[in-house]
Amino acid sequence: MSSRTTDDDPAGDGSAPTSSPPAGTAPPAGTGRNGEWFGGLDTLLRFQSFFGLVLVFLASVVFSPRGDDGEIIFLTSENLFNLVRAISEIGIIAIGLTFVILIGGIDLSVGSLLGLAAVGSAVLLTADDYGVLAAIAVVLLAGLVFGLLQGLAVALLRVQAFIVTLAGLQMARGLARLWSGGETVPISYGSGPGEAPLAFSLLGERTFNGIVPVPALIFAVLAVVAVAFLRGSAFSRHLYAVGGNEKAARISGVPVNRVKVVAFGVCGLCAALAGIVHAGQLNTGSPNAGISYELDGIAAVVVGGTSLAGGRGSMVGTIAGALLLGVLNNILALNTVDTDLQLIIKGLVIVAAAALQRLRPSR
């Protein structure tokens, strides 16, 4: 098939392969990896989230407040690891969302699903006395199944993803409230009945190696796995193909329905993982956890340069986007910027990122 990767590319479906390398990090279906990687503005725009991240990072170093002994507070390892810890949940959600958005879908259920997974983790570990691994396995499986069911509804019932996952948002929240009885479920640690194994508290205030918070580590590992997975695997090519032009993909033999179902499944799995991290970080499963996280996740994906129209974007971009928003949050808080002003600045960054993206085809 032809490599129609940019749905709004005036040049058409990849008709100028030499001058327009495929967008996104992973090579799209049927295209060689022989594009030019560096080409002025185009390159700048393609790597926008990465350059944006570098820019915001450098600005943060410059504008960081100094500690009592003159050190740059922003650059202290404690602060940098806190920063990654702070975005770990949204980051994990955004990684899952990238799969769905690449096929031109959307998943609004991830925030509620996080709440459901957090409640599930708390109840299984305490009231039901599950072991850590068993509880994690059950919750991940539940997230996967929830995502797969949404994928099936999208692929087979042909209901729009927006609607399916809007319904999923409601249902996951309802399930979370039912499961917890509407109350926050506290997680206390110990070996007695009704107490969670101490190992689960690794996700909370404790750190790996004395410095690295475990949620940050989980995010980093998942990021590596996701980037590796999206580079060159057959499934990855199918994702881009379905997102770029579903009809063409179907004709050229891509198992479109299966790709859709799997993408939503992966997204649900990631949301469940984020919920487990959430429960561990806060030592509670709150049925109200994760409200509006889907929007933060989508923001990270968009800042990362992935098109909501599908078929264009990259996992590396998403991760850079999540980090960029995290650095921005962090430096604004360190500098005592007014909370209301912070919201406005973050809004501007999201719009700017999306606007830059629009510039690309009309170069």
């Binding site: 202290t76 205030e205 590796a228 590396v316």
Partner: protein, 335 residues
Amino acid sequence: MRFQARSMLAAACAVALLSTGCGTTSINAGSAGGPDPEEVCEGPTGDYTIGVSQANVAEPYRVRMNADIRRAAAKVEQFGEVQFLDAAQDNSRQVSQIRTLITKQVDLLIVSPNEAAPLTGVVSRAYNSGIPVVVLDRKVNGDSYSTFIGADNERIGRQAGEYFADRLLPDGGKVVELRGLSGSTPAAERGRGFRAGVRGSGIEIIASADGQWLRAEAQSKMDAVLKAHPRVDAVYGHNDPMAEGAHLAARSAGRAAGTEFVGIDGLPTPSGGIKAVQRGRLSATFVYPTGGEEAITAAKRMLIDCEPVPEKQTLPTRLVTPENAAKVYRRLNSR
């Protein structure tokens, strides 16, 4: 693009290696025991930064709390910088905001937690790293903080109940309760206290609906209650906005006259409960103090006066009726 991916990969691997280098996990709790009073108190010559972590600024009550803190701090010369952070009702966000304040080495932390259990860890982390912590309004677990300041919801509910039994409906009557969000502790406490307050009187709670602390929600719940019950003598709202919502519903049903509306919170703002009492929309409200001024007083004692502060300060409540509303409003805004 490829180099970018590769460098990201390398960076991520470096993080992974760094952490597996040791291969064990350790508790990183810092030195236990809280701040050393001698060390945090530099007296009047110091210059102090205060961080305020607020659960949300969607509720007028919390906006007022921040305003009270800001106003009280402005009167203390040494409290030049007060930073307000809004957690937007998200435990996770509040935890990371407090972590940032710890990193920033604020001299004192004022926190009004979104929920107790999720915030306990990070609050004790701040306290154990040497930062005095004032916990406002909502509690955390354990005792790793310098002082807790807040009013008592159960007591305020009981006082409301006693007011209904003794003064509003001494001969008994039919009362509708509009509750705060189910599952939130103030709703449970304000409901429980009220029941204790009216016990033994002729007051009957004929309906109890969840108004979620919201005016609009309470209004539509009250609509339904009015249709189901031909006689309602009084409404007890767990907060003023809900009592006002009920008043609106009763008014459009032509049943506001002859029905008493009582709320809680008594915010001294133009849209708050005290003004509503003055204007006759509410029969009474109970001031639930924000504790903002008291928090700054405690901060001043710890940082400037080098004096100990009580572990717990329960703020007194106050009944507001049309007779004293104007006076209370003036007094609360003149401090």
